[in-house]
Symmetry: C2
Subunit: 163 residues, 2 copies
């Protein structure tokens, strides 16, 4: 009731009615990863899957869809396709995350944590831990000065030009 979850707008973003979110990079990101199957193929890549058949089987999608998604993800630079051969085997292909793809980890972690919290009665099947200390890992909003920032302390503003 009394809780307002919307972000606080500042500067020329106020009032909201005066602008539309063109150049929105959430929208652009969703053009690169538009489908459920694209997200889940990336999940599998983080889980270490590299081969065509394994992607299809572990995501649970058909081979034609697997081929289409892998091609799109390679074309968009999220996965790198490379040939390799093990001794006594023919050349095969394998798909691995690029740096661009690997930097989507926070987005997948955020979705996983949200699903753990709201969509699974046991808090989710797996968790991330810090190898150093074994403690579970979460995502935090933190500003460049090092303060942990709650969502009620967030301002949305037009980006300052890079110095």
């Amino acid at each position: 009731m009394g809780i307002e979850h919307a972000l606080h707008m500042t500067g020329s973003l106020e009032p909201r009615g005066a602008w539309t979110a063109e150049r929105c990079t959430i929208a652009k990101a969703l053009e690169v990863i538009p489908t459920r199957s694209a997200f889940l193929i990336l999940r599998e890549a983080f889980y270490g899957t590299t081969r065509f058949d394994d992607f299809a089987a572990r995501v649970g999608i058909s081979e034609p869809v697997t081929a289409a998604r892998l091609r799109e993800l390679v074309d968009n630079g999220l996965l790198h396709r490379e040939d390799y051969r093990e001794p006594g085997q023919r050349t095969r292909q394998r798909y691995r995350l690029t740096e661009k793809g690997a930097e989507l980890l926070p987005a997948l972690v955020a979705l996983m944590h949200w699903g753990d919290r709201w969509l699974d009665d046991r808090g989710g099947p797996v968790e991330l831990r810090h190898r150093g200390c074994g403690e579970p890992v979460g995502l935090e909003l933190r500003c460049a000065a090092g303060h942990a920032v709650g969502s009620e302390e967030l301002d949305l503003a037009r980006r300052r030009p890079a110095s």
Copy 2:
């Protein structure tokens, strides 16, 4: 080349071939927010939009799609639909984020930051700032003991039962 971006598996998650990601909460989250339009309606809700026509206009989707998405998001408990009336006006409906919906903020922030970094030549149109100090805000992986955790220090493990 030499960089391995996949997560490190521990315990019964090793080797990867022996299990499939059933009960995956990323997949479950994508059943609740399956489409681009659902993500963008949530973005608008964070931007403070509350009314049907404004959602349609600011997301850039048609009215039938807007109606379908809003209904799904309300049914799934991400938005709350409430009647309200301003003085001298008839009763209208407005849509606001529930706590469940509001907790998707990190996922949207992660997608936005990734898009800012990789898909926009000027680093994105808007940024989040800490109201206290004005510094830009980012997402960080951090463990329960308070350590900042790099992606190369992450272990994936079966969740320990809650104590």
